[in-house]
């Protein structure tokens, strides 16, 4: 296969990848989009295998079957609640693959036409080290993120004195080592950069708390793209550069959206330790504030007599595995002619769009699931807001109390509904450590129970 032909086929493959992302505009076109993406990958793989430099196929076939088997197994067996872990794991895999490709290119640069062993052109060696460094950071960072999400290590931020200074120092050392490869190439230097990057990946992620994981996963997703991009530059492969840029841009935009959803700057999240810096949480005099609590039958009665209900689900819903019970409740209400919709906050769930997938899995039609911007005005014309497993994202203090740590965060205006039913296990505050003023409003009724149990009981009463 000539170089021109393979370049054209790589271009076709890039176009397929753009179309695959483009398809995610709406659920209708997304499925076709995914197949276009698979087709693009097939073109890329077959084109490369047809290159004259590929001589032995046995090893490659074994590797594809082995990896493909593992990937298929993971993709089919993972529960949708564990989706963030799976994505973290996949991110780490891309990072490590980038490292392996860089190592291979370092020891056998002739195969890639970038020089000879320890005499690689200076531009290529910098690009290679950059790619392997980002890959290594992505790998260990994602492994830590995975461990935090899976509960293998504590999700709370790990901080120590001088942490940021140490990270900054190591970052500077890493950059200067990469630049120094222009002047001198040694094996020790190459492996040193790789090992330092592995360490940095761990140090970057440990100070970030479990609830900030949506940002971290998006960020690591972005890194995996830039790693592919760096390797693409080394190998002079246009397809890898284009795809890496697409993935990098996608992850960066998602990180931005997640940060905005929490009203926190990107640096604030990255520097980590949220919720630890100021343990002086305003303990407002809660004693003289009264709350109204009710039972499942109270809740069922109120909803039965409503004409419209908006359900506000949060991650607690997924923890309690209450999606199906909730949908059953919504179905009964809908059968009685009550309009039921769902309001999703950008950071509901542990990764971007997680809550939408969880509701879709419970067979909630996607038209009734609306984003914050789309539904927020409708609360004023709604009879019941049913908050389940969410807390901070409904706190009116974010709009009114400038001293609150969550001030400025976009919240769902549930207090505008005629009645707010708030399902919660106890009065404990949410992840931000802030008391929710909503609890003390006249139109709020607290339903103290486990999310799943409450939904089941309401369903029983409604029947």
């Amino acid at each position: 296969m000539t170089e021109n032909l393979s370049s054209l086929l790589y271009l076709a493959s890039s176009v397929c990848f753009v179309l695959a992302i483009r398809g995610l505009n709406s659920p209708e076109t997304a499925r076709v989009g995914n197949f276009v993406g698979i087709f693009g990958m097939l073109i890329a793989i077959l084109t490369t295998l047809a290159l004259p430099s590929i001589l032995s196929y046995e090893l490659i076939l074994v590797a594809i079957l082995l990896g493909g088997g593992i990937g298929t197994f993971l993709a089919l067996k993972t529960k949708m609640t564990s989706l963030p872990q799976l994505v973290a794991l996949f991110n780490s895999v891309v990072g490590l693959a980038a490292c392996f490709v860089a190592i291979a290119a370092f020891y056998r640069p002739e195969a890639y036409g970038i020089g000879t062993f320890l005499d690689i052109s200076s531009l290529s060696i910098v690009e290679m080290n950059l790619g392997s460094a980002i890959g290594a950071i992505t790998f260990t960072g994602s492994v830590i993120a995975f461990a935090k999400l899976q509960g293998l290590v504590s999700g709370s931020p790990v901080t120590f004195r001088g942490q940021h200074q140490i990270n900054a120092l190591l970052g500077i050392i890493l950059s200067s080592l990469i630049i120094s490869t222009i002047f001198e190439q040694t094996e020790i230097l190459f492996w040193g950069i790789l090992c330092l990057s592995f360490v940095l990946g761990v140090l970057f992620i440990i100070p970030i708390g479990g609830a900030d994981m949506p940002v971290v996963i998006s960020m690591l997703n972005s890194y995996s793209g830039w790693a592919a991009c760096g390797i693409g530059f080394t190998l002079g492969n246009i397809l890898m550069i284009i795809t890496g840029a697409l993935v990098g841009a996608s992850g960066a935009i998602l990180s931005y959206i997640m940060c905005k959803g929490m009203n926190r700057s990107f640096f604030n999240v990255i520097l980590g330790g949220f919720g630890l810096e100021d343990p002086v949480i305003q303990k407002q005099n809660t004693a003289d504030k009264s709350i109204k609590s009710g039972t499942a039958s109270d809740g069922a009665f109120i909803m039965e007599n409503a004409s419209s209900v908006i359900i506000v689900p949060g991650y607690g819903l997924a923890v309690a595995q209450a999606q199906h019970a909730l949908r059953e409740m919504a179905d009964i209400l809908q059968e009685r002619g009550i309009e039921v919709r769902y309001a999703i906050h950008p950071v509901a769930g542990r990764m971007p769009g997680h809550m939408n997938v969880l509701l879709a899995e419970a067979s909630v039609p996607y038209e009734s699931v609306l984003e914050l911007d789309m539904i927020n005005r409708d609360f004023a014309q709604t009879d019941v807001a049913f908050v389940i497993g969410a807390n901070d994202v409904t706190n009116p203090a974010a709009k009114t109390d400038s001293s609150s740590p969550i001030f400025g965060m976009p919240v769902l205006d549930v207090e505008n509904a005629k009645t707010v039913l708030f399902v919660k296990r106890s009065m404990a505050s949410g992840y931000a450590g802030v008391e929710n003023q909503l609890f003390f409003k006249d139109n709020t009724m607290m339903l103290f129970s486990d999310a799943k149990q409450m939904c089941d009981e309401i369903v029983q009463t409604l029947k």
């Binding site: 990937g71 890639y112 999703i344 984003e371």
Partner: protein, 98 residues
């Protein structure tokens, strides 16, 4: 400078910058409801790194680079199969009313 003597690096940068713009505009148009599938599908496509892995694993003679290439192909395949399949699984759950 003659057009045929453009440095491959400059060519690469040109492609990179344009691809970033395409990525920016395409990704902003993705509906927030499908952000999870977006992450898993970008996961899958970032494994085009397999192209580089093939070149390392491809030569007929065995050496250290080839072993590294083998591992890279295994890892990238995990991601390609896993990423596309889990995306498909998610997308198949998004249904309309009725």
């Amino acid at each position: 400078m003659q057009p045929d003597s453009i440095d491959p690096f400059i060519f690469g940068i040109t492609v990179l910058v344009l691809a970033c713009f395409i990525g920016y505009f395409v990704v902003w148009r993705v509906t927030p409801a499908l952000h999870s599938p977006l992450m898993s599908v970008t996961n899958a496509i970032s494994s085009v790194i397999i192209v580089g892995a093939f070149i390392a694993a491809g030569p007929a003679t065995g050496n250290f680079a080839q072993i590294m290439g083998f591992f890279a192909v295994v890892l990238a395949s995990v991601n390609i199969f896993g990423g596309f399949i889990v995306t498909q699984r998610m997308l198949s759950m998004f249904k309309k009313k009725g």
